[in-house]
């Protein structure tokens, strides 16, 4: 465990309640979240069976795999939402269950698959909610973080509109802005591109890259293998609750592996101009009918 991420110097009893100590900035390569021999059972079904994954500062890790492979469950476990049935989840070096909710909120931010809101708060108010964990520690950064997150996700021009009046893709970007405003060094994003158009899919993944470049760790669940290949430093391919492969996309994305995992013949080939990895399902030439 990296001593810099450990906030404990004062004995527990002496610390003020609701005043969690913010973590120091991680160094490149620090493991900010890891699953070890992680098994998660939901009801009778074993959703994850012995998963090992490490998330490092400075890196975008894409979780890919067919529906029901356990991507979102793994993300939830890394977010400390789901207790492990067996094995361990560590966040910033400590077991996930050892952190309190306010401490975790300073260390990891989570984008849920779908964003909902019970009351008609405005977009700006929603993004500002992302700053709640910092109210005690660093309120002076709020304005810059909120404005920056809204600009980065291109939602500034809806700032005054109620969240409920936005389209699905706009809501997804606002939810992402809230997560970015939380300014944590670990970002867990569940299908951030699902509702987005082409331009904003690229925008979101460029943002992930930028955060990783700035020293944060980003985990992103993706369905689009082309996006994963283009933007992830590392991909973990999940199949039926296990990690089928883990490594840089150029090495992991092979025709044999992907065809087998997705039970669908695919082609993997280099882009004719850039040489980047492209993945397409195998299709016959369009028939004339």
């Amino acid at each position: 465990m990296n001593p810099r991420t450990s906030p404990r110097t004062t004995p527990r009893v002496l610390r003020l309640r609701n005043r969690p100590v913010p973590p120091a900035a991680p160094e490149l390569g620090d493991v900010l979240a890891e699953a070890e021999e992680l098994t998660v059972r939901l009801g009778a079904r074993e959703v994850l069976a012995g998963v090992d994954v490490r998330v490092r500062a400075g890196e975008v890790l894409a979780l890919v795999g067919p529906n029901g492979a356990g991507k979102s469950t793994l993300l939830s476990a890394l977010a400390a939402d789901l207790p492990p049935t067996a094995g361990a989840v560590r966040i910033h070096g400590r077991p996930a269950s050892a952190w309190s909710a306010p401490e975790l909120a300073l260390r990891r931010a989570v984008l849920p698959q779908s964003a909902s809101l019970s009351f008609p708060f405005t977009v700006e108010e929603v993004v500002r909610m992302g700053r709640a964990p910092w109210a005690a520690a660093r309120p002076e950064d709020d304005e810059a973080a909120v404005a920056g997150a809204m600009a980065a996700t291109e939602v500034t021009r809806f700032a005054a509109r109620p969240f409920s009046a936005l389209s699905g893709g706009e809501r997804a970007r606002v939810a992402l802005a809230r997560v970015l405003a939380q300014s944590t060094s670990l970002l867990l994003l569940d299908e951030p591109t699902a509702a987005l158009d082409l331009r904003h899919q690229e925008l979101v993944l460029r943002l992930c890259r930028a955060r990783a470049h700035a020293g944060d760790a980003v985990v992103v669940v993706l369905h689009d293998l082309g996006l994963a290949a283009a933007y992830a430093h590392r991909v973990a391919v999940l199949r039926a609750g296990r990690v089928a492969a883990d490594g840089p996309p150029q090495e992991v994305f092979s025709r044999a592996l992907l065809s087998e995992v997705y039970e669908q013949p695919v082609e993997v080939f280099p882009h004719p101009r850039t040489g980047a990895v492209l993945v397409l399902p195998e299709r016959e030439a369009a028939p004339f009918d």
Binding site: A101, P112, F119, T122, T156, A160
Partner: protein, 360 residues
């Protein structure tokens, strides 16, 4: 893009700032309205007292000048009108605040303090004490039993709707419905076995009224109401976060389970306290927070204290109407609020739906 960003800078900040200004203006005008309405309500009635005399008497009592009125006027003011006014303020504030809290806790703008069974649970306690002729605590028996029963009910609902350390909102509300039905049956049973005088009293109590306001009743409500009203705003920010959903709220550092427990207790405290002295007075907890949300946005930092203020104002005005509109008879307050409140609520629903395209 530059043009758009320019647009933004001109249009974005005002909206949030505007909401904040609206909130301050509303708070100020609510306080002013209360300060005006209280002496008016104290003066109006079967034995009218001029507002000037009301103020003089109040000044005299707190020892800053003024003058004592004649014996009848003093007695009417201090033994009849003021306890009733204070009770109306406390009950209204409690109901308004409890409604806002409840809608926040369940993330459902249509949640209502009666939904989780506090109202009918409290009613069972009160009806039992009336029907069985219990008086082991003197005047306070009805209030105390109603409060105890309401609290037990809400704890029961909460315990039954928990599973695996979580509380599903749908389960909670369905359990509340079942408990409401059971409480209704118990009340029916007590009514069946009660004698004619008790049935009369129960019926009157169920309609909701402040007619029997006395200082001891005020004292019975005061601690619960003040405690609840003081604690509620401390959770305003966390309630805002809860509107994102349970998980996102937890991701932002909210201990959701503890938040729910504390707030359910506060809701029970506020609602049961109100119901125990005044019977079931509907709609205040539902419409008051809605009106404020429309005017100043859904932020709970204004909504919670604002709902208490507006609830107090609304109930004071409603009680004033109830006791003067059909003089010398008195309309049951609960009937009046429901008569006025239900159509108003329908109108609110339609209007808001049209404007915001739904409640989400």
């Amino acid at each position: 893009m530059t043009v758009m960003e320019k647009d933004v800078r001109e249009s974005a900040p005002p909206a949030t700032g505007q909401r904040r200004t609206t909130a301050w203006l509303l708070t100020a005008s609510l306080v002013v309205a209360l300060l005006v309405l209280v002496p008016v309500a104290a003066g109006v009635g079967a034995y009218p007292v001029p507002v000037g005399d009301v103020l003089a008497s109040v000044q005299h009592r707190i020892g800053v000048g003024g003058a004592e009125l004649d014996r009848v006027a003093e007695s009417v003011l201090w033994n009849v009108r003021f306890p009733r006014i204070v009770l109306a303020l406390l009950v209204g504030a409690s109901l308004g605040c409890a409604g806002a809290l409840m809608q926040g806790v369940f993330g459902n703008p249509l949640a209502e303090p009666g939904v989780i069974g506090v109202s009918s649970g409290a009613a069972v306690g009160a009806v039992a004490s009336i029907a069985l002729g219990l008086d082991f605590l003197g005047n306070w028996t009805v209030s105390v039993l109603a409060f105890a029963a309401g609290l037990v009910t809400v704890l029961l609902v909460y315990a039954m709707s928990r599973s695996g350390g979580r509380t599903e909102v749908v389960t909670l509300i369905l359990t509340g419905i079942a408990v409401n039905a059971f409480a209704g049956a118990l009340i029916g049973l007590f009514l069946f076995f009660a004698d004619a005088a008790a049935v009369n009293q129960i019926t009157f109590w169920q309609l909701g009224s402040l007619a029997q306001a006395t200082w001891p009743k005020v004292l019975a409500v005061l601690p619960c109401a003040v405690l609840g009203l003081a604690v509620a705003p401390l959770y305003a920010r966390r309630l805002d976060l809860l509107s994102l959903g349970e998980r996102p709220a937890r991701h932002l550092g909210v201990d959701v389970e503890r938040l729910r427990i504390v707030l359910v207790l506060v809701i029970a405290l506020l609602t049961a306290a109100a119901v125990s002295v005044s019977g079931i007075i509907g709609f205040v907890g539902l419409v008051v927070p809605h009106l404020l949300r429309m005017a100043a946005g859904p932020g709970h930092r204004f909504l919670l204290p604002g709902s208490a203020l507006l609830g107090a104002l609304v109930l004071l005005a409603a009680d004033l109407t109830a006791r003067t509109v059909a003089e010398p008879a008195e309309l049951p307050l609960g009937v009046l609020t429901a008569l006025l409140g239900s159509p108003f609520f329908f109108w609110l629903l339609r209007r808001t739906r049209r404007r915001q395209g739904g409640w989400a």
